[in-house]
């Protein structure tokens, strides 16, 4: 598994590299000292795992994640970023406190390994989770839990659980990477998660309306209605 170490302190990078020699299946393909460097290396090396420091010059680890199209698996490393770690709402996050305890590192890598084993072969083509930062809060959002994606200018509003964070990407670009068996383009502005559909009704204007579980009612455009019917086998 290709891994990239991102930390602004050379001794910290060397120490992590040394700790990782115990895990033969993890191959450190590169090191970056800041966010800009890291972004280039992610693009050129295509790592599957990032060891990511949070506080770095020229941008935080969160800034990097928000800029990445494809999200590798991430293990945060931090010395004392109480606030940064607290910004996270999710337990999906794995973080190691520096100096890194080798036993904790082994645990975190174990989780990475089992998460990778659970991936389906087609998973390489579709996005499974995205990193979202809205204001001071951050989440790793598993896409299968998202009900609805609505275009808002150059942004996407996600309807996910109780929060509706804003994602800094265009809907058309993201659509290419969504699982076609799960997500359906309902109209020009909205993509719905088929598994969240509670019922479908014919509206007064002759269009189909899909009621989403814990969510709004979404209108299916005339163009998409036929495709929708075949998909839902109505």
């Amino acid at each position: 598994m290709k891994a990239l170490i991102i930390d602004d302190e050379p001794p910290a990078r060397r120490e992590l590299r040394r700790l990782l020699t115990d895990f033969a299946w993890v191959e450190v393909v590169g090191e970056a000292g800041n966010v800009g460097q890291a972004e280039d290396l992610v693009a050129s090396l295509g790592p599957e795992l990032l060891f990511l420091d949070i506080q770095m010059p020229g941008g935080t680890g969160f800034d990097l994640l928000a800029r990445l199209e494809d999200l590798p698996q991430v293990i945060f490393t931090t010395a004392y970023d109480e606030h940064a770690v607290r910004a996270f709402e999710v337990d999906a996050l794995d973080y190691l406190l520096k100096p890194i305890d080798p036993a904790r590192l082994a645990e975190a890598l174990g989780r990475v390994k089992s998460a990778r084993a659970a991936r389906t072969p087609q998973a390489d083509k579709v996005l499974e989770q995205i990193f979202v930062r809205d204001g001071s809060r951050c989440w790793f959002v598993p896409l299968r839990e998202v009900r609805l994606l609505s275009s808002e200018g150059n942004y996407i509003r996600l309807s996910w659980g109780k929060v509706n964070p804003l994602l800094g990407r265009a809907l058309a670009a993201l659509e290419q990477r969504l699982d076609p068996n799960r997500f359906f383009r309902a109209n020009r502005r909205q993509i719905i998660n088929l598994e969240f559909i509670e019922n479908v009704e014919l509206g007064v204007n002759g269009r189909l309306h899909a009621q989403l579980r814990d969510g709004p009612e979404v209108e299916i455009s005339r163009r998409q209605a036929r495709l929708f019917k075949t998909k839902m086998s109505i």
């Binding site: 602004d8 302190e9 050379p10 001794p11 910290a12 060397r14 120490e15 040394r18 000292g33 800041n34 800009g36 460097q37 506080q55 010059p57 020229g58 941008g59 935080t60 800034d63 010395a79 004392y80 970023d81 406190l97 520096k98 100096p99 890194i100």
Partner: protein, 367 residues
């Protein structure tokens, strides 16, 4: 005030008060009733009636007395003034009851005559009327003295307990404040990063790791042993800054470049402890560590117009990634400077030049 509107604690103490009132007067009534019936062979229905009447008057009087001492804030009085007031009030309340008692069975219970006749019939004892009445009045007054003494003791105990509680709360708050100060001084971010550097050096370069531990120990000792109100020489402070910068150089490597120009005559000037250290720490934390390629940290001093001017200069990012509020350390440093040296000393952070931050400390030579 409506009962429901009273706080629960007040309702509870009100309840306790009435329980004690009824119990106290009840015990007196019962005791005198038993004494009168058994020892003095008095007719019990009349005795009971008289006792109930008189002691109800006593209860009402004592309740009125409580109202009176509350309104006149007796609890705030010194003990001697309180003592004679208790005495006077008790006789004021006891006198009418004592006089009335003379015309009832109760007189027999309140003077020694009847008891002496009972137990020592040989004495042939007969009290003059005024003496007998005086005994009765004293007897009644004594009940009120006891009542007031118990009342004020209970109040004193309650106040003592709540004062103690407040005291321990205050001590806790102080401790917390001290702990917070210590934590801010220790700078956990620096501490854990330094430890991580040491861990890395142990394998890379054991000799440097040993040095790092020494520098870290020096830094910690200085931080922990310095008191807020201490003054040290510039030279002493520079020593600890050197230890600190050694550690930061190991961590940031070639991103941190250092220049220190402090002339000999400036080194003996006394400055508040940890002040220069705080400035250097801020220069790294908010300046050099925020820049991908690092920069030059410059510490310089000049003596000018009877003032020492100490400067810490560092490059800074155009748009800081951290929120740009004045750090706790800087505010604390400014407070201490004003308290320890006075208004002629100053500390300002000059951000007028783009991409450069200069912290300037001015301290008068005649302190």
């Amino acid at each position: 005030m409506n009962d429901a509107e009273q706080p629960i604690a007040q309702q509870k103490s009100q309840l306790v008060y009435w329980i004690l009132q009824l119990a106290g007067w009840g015990v007196i009534t019962l005791g005198r009733f038993i004494g009168g019936v058994t020892v003095l062979d008095l007719a019990w229905p009349r005795l009971l009636l008289e006792l109930l009447l008189v002691n109800t008057v006593g209860l009402v009087l004592s309740h009125w007395l409580r109202d009176y001492v509350r309104r006149n804030r007796w609890r705030a009085l010194p003990i001697r003034k309180l003592a004679w007031r208790i005495l006077v009030a008790s006789f004021v309340c006891g006198t009418p009851i004592g006089i009335v008692s003379q015309f009832t069975y109760l007189s027999a219970l309140m003077e020694p005559e009847s008891f002496l006749r009972e137990y020592a019939p040989a004495l042939q004892f007969q009290l003059a009327l005024p003496v007998a009445v005086a005994f009765e009045i004293a007897n009644c007054a004594f009940v009120f003295i006891a009542w007031l003494t118990i009342y004020f003791t209970a109040i004193a105990l309650r106040e003592h307990r709540s004062a103690q509680l407040k005291q321990s709360e205050l001590a806790g708050a102080l401790q917390l404040a001290e702990l917070r100060l210590l934590k801010s001084q220790l700078n956990p971010h620096f501490l854990f990063n330094a430890l991580n550097t040491v861990r890395s050096l142990i394998a890379d370069n054991p000799a440097r790791a040993q040095n790092a531990v020494t520098h870290l120990a020096n830094t910690l000792r200085y931080t922990l042993s310095s008191r807020q109100d201490e003054l040290v020489t510039v030279s002493q402070e520079l020593d600890i800054v050197a230890d600190y910068l050694e550690l930061e150089s190991m961590r940031l490597e070639d991103r941190l470049r250092i220049e220190i120009h402090v002339p000999e005559d400036a080194r003996g000037v006394r400055i508040p402890v940890m002040l220069l250290q705080t400035l250097v720490e801020n220069a790294i934390k908010h300046g050099i560590a925020e820049l991908p390629s690092g920069g030059l940290l410059r510490v310089s001093a000049v003596l000018q117009d009877d003032m020492l001017i100490l400067q810490v200069e560092n490059p800074r990012p155009a748009a800081p990634t951290r929120v740009a509020h004045e750090s706790v350390g800087l505010r604390n440093a400014r407070d201490r400077l004003r308290l320890l040296i006075g208004p002629s000393a100053s500390l300002d952070l000059d951000l007028s030049r783009p991409a450069v931050a200069t912290a300037r400390l001015r301290i008068p030579l005649q302190q």
